[in-house]
């Protein structure tokens, strides 16, 4: 997954800055190499492996001007992050430059055909076939527009592609299952994988549909469909505060976003809790879907998948049969899809390729689909039968925090709505969540505990019932940003194998909340690890009962036992954050990871 930016403007001197600024707000999509190309009669191409700052220092002192340009920030899929593999790519002669996000699946066969025709390749990427292919059509006398169209017809796979030509002030672009959005400015036009890349210049946008081709000039954007017929696209105005991208005095976006959670939850629950008539509602979810839903299948990846496990526990408890699937393993051919099944895709970005793939399969199989996402008008939102937004606000940190909390709150609301009971048992608990989270933020001693457990061989997280998904999420956060080995288990599973790994150098984080029975059983599991000498961190709402078992206690306020996982998770976020802080890790940009995973 990568980030693309494009600019066609009337002032050739601003091109370089627009491209670099755009790339910096797309870095969350990938940051192992970056590059730009500008057309000015010739093609100036600069690209470097490493973060954007490496490219910027390469460009320092050079003047790169021209009316059109494209840029790219990369996350490696084909070939290691090197200068050669960085985008933009060019053909044999510097007549066309291309940036690409996604995977071209027939690149091997294209490459061998092109090599036979005399083309030589410099990189290991699938992308490089595209400029060579375009070049081949240019050689046959086709115009840039015709060459671009002929070339993309021969590509299989998923892609968003933009191309510029040395002697033209136009950008050509298309997409297929990868995001691409066009921006309309006063005297310039823009192109990007995501709106924040150009939001400081314009808020008027066109979301390209699959297989549409856009031609951008400084004054105009022409969109054509698959067959070259001109289409009249809808222009949306996006409501997004560009300043939201700032760190507001925090060292990392991750900590900023952890502290934003009370506000994020207030937004998630706004207008959805009606204490006066005892109901929880989702006005965006059509009544017909609520009525027709007998069972639920969740599809999601990563943290979002853990949020669905929590949602599934709540739904099953309410008598609604529910399954969860890791989206990349959702195979509609092999999974019974009975009528009355609602397939719910949970994805922060709404662009997660695996989740989109699963939702498309479900759509094709005739299921009703629901997107639970943070990004308005994202692919998931546009392709599903209905959408419920989690309203967490922009999330920049690669490690998901507030979006996970808002997903938890939203699936809890979804479970309540599908259940339909009145008065809903979550009424008070949902309204109290912001204050419960604020209490954790104000009083947490996670920073001190992190300093004590930073030097460890591995971390184990255990929890029962609703807390099992939180144990998994806590371990994922720990491994993502500290690079330490961390695993989450249902507390009872420890003795069936993982206990063999427990030593005095493997801290065990135990989530001990819930009914007396659950607490007692989990306490038993804590005793098992304690007797092996492992340092024990207990996260609990009843410290007086369990503190004597623990080396360290992270306290959470008492609340509805089914909602307490939203609160306990905040302690685990802080524990992971401060552990990574002790280790001086690049917390917002962990190695090998990117925010929005748009490849399958």
């Amino acid at each position: 997954m990568c980030g693309i930016i494009g600019y066609a403007g009337s002032d050739p001197d601003t091109t370089e800055n627009v491209l670099l600024d755009g790339l910096s707000s797309l870095e969350y999509r990938g940051y192992d190499s970056a590059g730009i190309a500008v057309a000015n009669g010739m093609l100036d191409v600069y690209k470097r492996s490493g973060e954007l700052s490496v490219l910027e220092s390469t460009l320092d002192g050079k003047t790169v001007t021209g009316p059109v340009g494209i840029g790219h920030t990369r996350w490696s899929t084909h070939g290691p992050p090197t200068d050669e593999n960085a985008h933009p790519h060019t053909g044999c002669s510097d007549r066309v430059a291309v940036v690409h996000n996604g995977i071209i699946s027939n690149d091997e066969s294209l490459k061998s055909t092109l090599t036979d025709a005399g083309h030589t390749f410099e990189s290991d990427t699938d992308t490089e076939t595209v400029p060579h292919l375009i070049e081949r059509f240019l050689d046959r006398g086709y115009s840039p527009a015709e060459s671009f169209r002929h070339a993309i017809k021969r590509l299989d796979g998923s892609y968003a592609i933009a191309a510029i030509f040395h002697d033209s002030d136009e950008i050509y672009a298309t997409r297929r299952q990868s995001p691409l959005v066009v921006g309309l400015g006063a005297d310039a036009t823009y192109l990007a994988s995501d709106v924040p890349a150009f939001i400081e210049h314009t808020d008027r946008v066109i979301y390209l549909e699959d297989r549409q081709v856009a031609r951008l000039t400084p004054t105009d954007v022409v969109i054509t469909d698959d067959d070259g017929e001109r289409v009249d696209p809808a222009v949306d105005v996006v409501d997004w505060d560009p300043e939201d991208a700032g760190k507001s005095g925090y060292d990392h976006y991750m900590l900023k976003e952890i502290y934003e959670q009370p506000q994020a939850i207030r937004q998630s629950t706004r207008g959805r809790i009606l204490e006066l008539d005892g109901s929880v509602t989702l006005p965006d979810l059509p009544e017909s879907i609520v009525e027709e839903t007998d069972r639920v299948q969740f599809v999601a990846c990563g943290s979002s998948y853990y949020a669905t496990q929590y949602g599934a526990a709540l739904l099953r408890e309410r008598g609604i049969p529910t399954q969860t699937f890791v989206a990349s393993d959702y195979d509609v051919e092999r999974i019974p899809l009975e009528s009355g099944t609602l397939v719910v895709g949970v994805t922060q970005s709404g662009e997660t390729a695996d989740t989109l793939g699963a939702l498309r399969d479900a759509n094709r199989a005739g299921a009703t689909t629901l997107a639970v996402t943070n990004v308005v008008a994202s692919s998931a939102a546009r392709e599903c039968d209905a959408t419920v937004y989690i309203r967490a606000g922009p999330e920049i940190s690669v490690a998901a925090t507030k979006s996970f909390a808002s997903q938890q709150a939203t699936v809890a609301i979804l479970a309540s709505v599908l259940d339909g009971r009145r008065p809903n048992p979550f009424l008070g608990g949902l309204r109290d969540l912001p204050s419960d989270i604020q209490r954790v933020l104000d009083t947490s001693n996670a920073r001190e505990i992190a300093a004590e457990i930073v030097d460890a061989d591995a971390y184990f997280f255990i929890g029962r019932g609703y807390q099992w998904p939180v144990a998994l999420e806590g371990a994922l956060k720990m491994k993502e940003i500290t690079y330490a080995h961390a695993e989450g288990f249902p507390a009872g599973e420890l003795k069936h194998g993982p206990l063999a790994l427990v030593t005095e150098r493997t801290p065990v984080v135990a989530l001990v909340t819930g009914s007396n029975e659950v607490v007692e059983k989990t306490v038993g599991n804590v005793r098992e690890v304690e007797s092996r000498g492992a340092p024990v961190v207990v996260v609990t709402d009843s410290p007086e009962d369990v503190a004597h078992l623990a080396d360290f206690v992270l306290e959470v306020p008492e609340t509805n036992p089914a909602l307490v996982p939203v609160v306990t998770n905040v302690q685990l976020q802080l524990l992971a954050y401060w552990t990574a802080y002790e280790l001086d890790r690049p917390i917002d940009k962990p190695r090998n990871l990117a925010k929005s995973v748009t490849v399958e």
Binding site: D241, E243, D244, A245, G246, K247, S248, G249, Y250, K256, Y259, E260, P262, Q263, R266, R270, G271, L274, E275, L276, G428, R431, D432, P434, S435, D436, Q438, R439, L441, D442, T443, P557
Partner: protein, 393 residues
């Protein structure tokens, strides 16, 4: 429009307002339904300030999370004052964030745009090293006093006790860059570098310092009861809040009674038979349950007032839960703040953030409960109860 930067001092705790400042600095305490600092920032933006530097320190994340990177489209930069070594020291921490002349305001008082505009205009008009905002008050004994000669400031006296003709220094200043050097050259008093001492120094070395008398709005909350009084002023007649209002996102049951003036923020619910007001402010996401009575109270964000509770003259922190049937009858009380007793103050009860009252308890006038404390059901609470202990009597 010209570029104009304001430096807002928001690093201090405000220890006379404990326990409300247990988890946030004084500028983040609510007046009406918004933090004091938000009123200040409104005044700055309305007066045409184009960039804001907020000096944060004590519990700084609370400020940063609330305002984020901008306020009403004006960008905010945060600088951290690690130790609170006085107002002058706070201004020094912002030195690298300002060039040219700049405005300084205290973030812990409520001001309006008129005051800010008057200072900016006066500073533009004259060629002076510093311009001070002043107002007329009969008694300035508890505040910063200023002696002027025409438009020139000749002397600054903290807490003047003589009967000379003082104006009150409202803590809104315009400075040239020379102030930084003046602060550095001023000896600290009791370990603190004070901005007023630096202004004294500017005058001593022969600079012109102007004072401009304004009829803008200025109020300060130094004690818990001031928060109530100031909120009531704002709710009733205030230049900042136009009229008492309840937004659409707040649900009021048809059988509830609203006795104006009342201000509620977004996402509140007011249950059947509840009586809210007069002079009551409900923060965001507050629930007032069936038949509760909330009169002359300041209730901060995320509060929950249980069924049949009666609260009069109370200051309620964030996330406080009041159980069923709890009463605080209100009325004048002798209240202990730090080591001093203040007699006859209108304060029913003062509850810190997230006090969890289990219900059926009674608060004697002037009762204070610390943040995060649990009050057992049926408790009788009076006097001052420290933070995080269980009140059980």
């Amino acid at each position: 429009m010209t570029e104009r930067t304001a430096v807002v001092l928001a690093a201090g705790e405000g220890n006379r307002l404990r326990p409300l400042t247990r988890h946030r600095p004084k500028p983040m305490l609510s007046v009406g339904v918004r933090p004091i600092l938000e009123h200040t920032l409104d005044a700055l933006v309305d007066a045409g300030i184009t960039s804001i530097v907020v000096v944060v320190g004590y519990k700084r994340t609370d400020v940063q999370s609330y305002f984020g990177p901008s306020y009403r489209d004006v960008p905010i930069t945060y600088v951290t004052q690690e130790k609170q070594l006085g107002t002058g020291h706070a201004v020094l921490t912002a030195e690298s964030s300002v060039d040219e002349d700049f405005l300084v305001v205290n973030g812990d008082q409520v001001i309006d745009a008129t005051l800010v505009r008057d200072v900016l205009d006066a500073h533009d008009e004259h060629d002076s090293a510093a311009t001070l905002g002043l107002i007329y008050r009969v008694d300035v004994g508890e505040y910063g006093g200023v002696i002027t000669d025409g438009e020139a400031v000749v002397e600054l006296v903290e807490g003047p006790q003589d009967d000379r003709d003082y104006r009150l220094n409202v803590g809104v200043y315009c400075f040239e860059q020379t102030v930084f050097e003046a602060i550095r050259r001023t000896a600290p008093r009791a370990g603190e570098h004070l901005l007023v001492d630096a202004i004294d120094h500017l005058i001593e070395i022969g600079n012109t310092v102007h004072g401009v008398e304004s009829d803008g709005f200025w109020a300060e909350a130094n004690y818990p009861w001031d928060l109530l009084g100031l909120s009531q002023t704002l709710v009733a007649e205030d230049p900042l809040i136009e009229e008492p209002r309840i937004p659409e996102s707040t649900n009021v049951h048809e059988s509830a009674t609203i006795r104006t003036p009342v201000v509620a923020a977004s996402d509140c619910e007011i249950g059947p038979g509840a009586v809210v007001g007069p002079y009551t402010c409900l923060g965001t996401n507050t629930a007032v349950e069936s038949n509760a009575v909330v009169e002359r109270c300041l209730v901060d964000t995320d509060g929950r007032i249980g069924p049949n509770a009666t609260l009069v003259d109370c200051v309620i922190g964030r996330g406080v839960r009041i159980g069923p049937g709890t009463t605080a009858p209100g009325g004048p009380a002798d209240v202990r703040v730090a080591d001093r007793i203040y007699e006859g103050r209108q304060l029913g009860a003062l509850l810190g953030d997230r006090v969890n009252d289990r219900g059926g308890s009674t608060y004697a006038p002037g009762a204070v409960v610390g943040a995060d404390a649990t009050v057992r059901s049926g408790a009788i609470v009076d006097g001052c109860n420290r933070s995080a202990i269980e009140v059980d009597r």
